[in-house]
C-alpha cells in the first residue's frame, strides 16, 4: 500500500535525521544541538507552559535541559526518541523549579500533585468548523469534566503525538493504565458529545 509506505519513508527520514544529529552532537557539534532545539522548541515550550503561567520560567527550564544535554553529549546516541527525552526532561525541570519556589514560599506541597493547565481551543472550532456558540458551550462543559490527568493524556496523545509507551513513561503509569484511561476519556467525550450534538 503506497500510503503506508510513504508514511514509513517520511518517518524513517525523520528518525534518521535525528539519529544523525545525535551522532554529531556526540562529536561536539554545537550546530546539531541548535538544530534539535529549533525542531522541538515550540513543542517543549507548549508543554512547559502547561505546568506554569510563568513563561520566563518555562524558557529558562528549556535552556537548562539543553545545557545538560550538551554536558551529557557523550551518551547522546543512547537517546532513542529525542522528543520523548526532551519532554520528560522539561516536565521534570519545570516541576522541580515550581516545587523549590513553593518550599521557599513556605508552603509545603506534594511534588507529585501538579496542575495541568487545560487549554482547549474552542474559538478556533467556532470559526473553522462553523460550530455554534451553543455547541461550543457544550464542548467547554465536556472538557471541564475531565480530570487533570485526562487533560494531560489527551494533550500528549493529540498534540505531542506520543505513543502509549511514551505517555506511560511521562505520566508514571503502566501502559495498560494509559490505555484504560484513554478509553475512559474518549468514552466520556463521546457520550456527551453524541448525546448533546447528534440528537439536536
Amino acid at each position: 500500500m503506497n500510503i503506508n509506505l510513504s508514511k514509513l519513508l517520511k518517518l524513517n527520514n525523520d528518525t534518521q535525521l535525528e539519529a544523525l544529529w545525535l551522532q554529531r552532537l556526540q562529536q561536539n557539534d554545537e550546530q546539531a544541538l541548535a538544530a534539535i532545539m529549533r525542531k522541538y522548541y515550540t513543542a517543549l515550550y507548549n508543554y512547559g507552559t502547561r505546568f506554569t503561567n510563568d513563561d520566563a520560567l518555562a524558557k529558562d527550564c528549556i535552556q537548562e535541559v539543553f545545557i545538560s544535554l550538551w554536558q551529557r553529549r557523550e551518551s547522546a546516541a543512547e537517546i532513542l526518541s529525542p522528543r520523548y527525552y526532551l519532554l520528560r526532561a522539561v516536565k521534570n525541570k519545570v516541576l522541580k523549579s515550581l516545587h523549590k519556589q513553593t518550599i521557599r514560599a513556605g508552603t509545603i506541597d506534594d511534588e507529585s500533585a501538579y496542575d495541568f493547565l487545560q487549554e482547549f481551543s474552542v474559538e478556533k472550532l467556532i470559526i473553522d468548523k462553523q460550530m455554534s456558540e451553543e455547541q461550543a458551550a457544550i464542548l467547554r462543559k465536556t472538557m471541564a469534566q475531565l480530570t487533570k490527568r485526562q487533560h494531560e493524556l489527551i494533550y500528549l496523545k493529540f498534540y505531542q503525538h506520543l505513543d502509549h509507551a511514551q505517555i506511560a513513561g511521562l505520566m508514571n503509569l503502566s501502559r495498560q493504565s494509559v490505555y484504560n484511561l484513554l478509553h475512559e476519556t474518549i468514552q466520556k467525550l463521546r457520550s456527551l458529545w453524541q448525546a448533546e450534538l447528534f440528537n439536536q
Binding site: N4, K7, L33, T42, N46, Q63, S68, Q71, L189
Partner: protein
C-alpha cells in the same frame, strides 16, 4: 497491517493514522480514507463521529514565533561557548548535579544583557544606519506601514515595490534634467525590503543605500532586504547585473570588494562579521520569454549545447570540463521541471553530480565513454 473494519469509534479516535488524517488533511491520507469509505459504506457514521471527536480536540498554537525561538537558540549557543572556556577548573559532576536553576538564570541574564549592550552600542555608533544617512539631507520619504506591498513610481520612471514596514527616501532633485547633465547618480535610501525595476540610464547609475551596503545598477530589476534588526542584508537579482559594495570601503578599495551579481543570484551580507556570500536562489526563475523554455527538448544532443541553453534561460553560469564531457549526449524533455530538477536529470543521465559554488553551478564527472 491494521484492519480498520474492526474499529469502533474509540479505536478510530486514538488511531495515529486516523488522527493525522483529521488534523493534517494530507493529500495521500484523503485519498486513502475516501477510497476506504467507498469500499466500506457501512462505516460512514462511525468515521464521521470519530472525526467530530478528534476535530473537537484542538489546542491553541503557542504564542511563540520563529524569531523568539532563534533568540533562545543563540542564548543557548552563548551559554555553552562561555561554559567551554571556564570548563577546565570546574568539575563536570559538580556542574551537573549542583546545577541550581537560579544560577543559570543569573548567567543567562548576564549573557542577554551583554548582547543587548552590544546591540544598543552598535546601532548608536552605526554611521550607515538609515536614520543617520537620511538625517541632514532634504529628502522625500515614503513609508509603507501596511502589511501589503506598495508600488511607487520614481521621477525617472523606475518602479519600486516597497515591502511591508519599510521606508525609502530620495532627493528632491532625483532624476531631474539638471542632475542628468551633471551625470549625478540616482540615489535612494532603504530601510526594509523593496523590489526595484530600474529604468536604463547608463549616464546615471542607480544606487540603493541599505545600511552598510550599496547596490549599484545601470538598469535592471532586483530586491534589497535590509531591516535594522536583521543580522543580514540580502540583495537578489531578477534580471540584468548589479554590483554591490560596502559603504565603508574607500574609493580605492571599493573596486576590490565590489561584487557582481547576475540573475538568480543572491548576495547575503552578514552584518556583524562584515562578510559577503554569493548564493544561488532555491528556485531560480527563467529570465527569457516562456517560448524559449518550451524548446528545451533534446534528442541525443551534445551536453555543452544543453548546458549552454540552460545557462541562457536562467542566466546562471554552469562550469564544466568541456573536453571531458564532449562525448556526452542528452535525450530529455527539460521544459517543465524546476532548475535543480533539470540539473539532477542531466547529471543522473551522464553519471555526474553538481555542486553550487559561489553562485555558480559546478559539474563534476569522470566523463562519458
Amino acid at each position: 497491517m491494521k484492519d480498520f473494519r474492526l474499529y469502533d469509534i474509540s479505536d478510530f479516535v486514538i488511531d495515529e493514522d486516523f488522527i493525522r488524517w483529521v488534523h493534517e488533511q494530507r493529500e495521500e491520507d484523503n485519498l486513502f480514507w475516501n477510497t476506504w469509505l467507498q469500499q466500506h459504506p457501512d462505516k460512514h457514521l462511525v468515521v464521521a463521529s470519530a472525526r467530530r471527536i478528534v476535530e473537537s480536540i484542538q489546542f491553541p498554537q503557542s504564542n511563540i514565533n520563529e524569531a523568539q525561538v532563534e533568540q533562545e537558540v543563540s542564548r543557548l549557543m552563548n551559554t555553552i561557548t562561555s561554559q567551554q572556556i571556564k570548563r577546565e577548573p570546574v568539575k563536570e559532576t559538580v556542574m551537573v548535579t549542583g546545577f541550581k536553576w537560579w544560577y543559570a538564570a543569573a548567567a543567562i541574564l548576564l549573557c542577554v544583557s551583554g548582547t543587548w549592550y552590544f546591540y544598543i552600542r552598535d546601532t548608536r555608533v552605526q554611521p550607515y544606519a538609515y536614520s543617520s544617512m537620511v538625517a541632514a539631507k532634504q529628502l522625500i520619504e515614503h513609508t509603507n506601514t501596511s502589511q501589503k506591498p506598495l508600488v511607487l513610481k520614481l521621477p525617472d520612471g523606475s518602479r519600486i515595490t516597497l515591502g511591508a514596514q519599510s521606508r525609502i527616501s530620495y532627493a528632491h532633485t532625483f532624476g531631474s534634467a539638471d542632475t542628468a547633465r551633471n551625470g549625478v547618480t540616482r540615489d535612494v535610501y532603504l530601510l526594509g525590503e523593496a523590489f526595484f525595476e530600474v529604468t536604463k540610464d547608463p549616464q546615471r547609475p542607480f544606487r540603493v543605500f541599505a545600511n552598510e551596503i550599496v547596490t549599484k545598477v545601470l538598469g535592471t530589476s532586483f530586491t534589497v532586504r535590509s531591516f535594522e534588526k536583521d543580522t543580514t542584508i540580502q540583495v537578489t537579482v531578477r534580471t540584468g547585473k548589479v554590483s554591490v559594495y560596502p559603504q565603508a570601503a574607500t574609493l580605492a578599495s571599493s573596486k576590490m570588494s565590489e561584487i557582481i551579481l547576475t540573475p538568480n543570484q543572491q548576495l547575503v551580507y552578514e552584518r556583524t562579521g562584515q562578510k559577503f556570500q554569493k548564493v544561488l536562489l532555491n528556485n531560480p526563475i527563467i529570465i527569457v520569454p516562456p517560448a524559449v523554455e518550451r524548446s528545451l527538448v533534446y534528442d541525443d544532443a551534445p551536453l555543452d549545447k544543453v548546458f549552454g541553453d540552460l545557462s541562457k534561460v536562467y542566466g546562471i553560469n554552469i562550469v564544466f570540463d568541456s573536453d571531458l564531457l564532449k562525448k556526452c549526449t542528452v535525450t530529455a524533455d527539460l521544459s517543465n521541471e524546476p532548475f535543480y530538477q533539470k540539473l539532477s536529470l542531466i547529471c543522473s543521465a551522464i553519471d555526474a553530480h553538481y555542486e553550487l559554488i559561489d553562485g555558480q553551478v559546478v559539474i563534476e564527472s569522470t566523463g562519458c565513454k
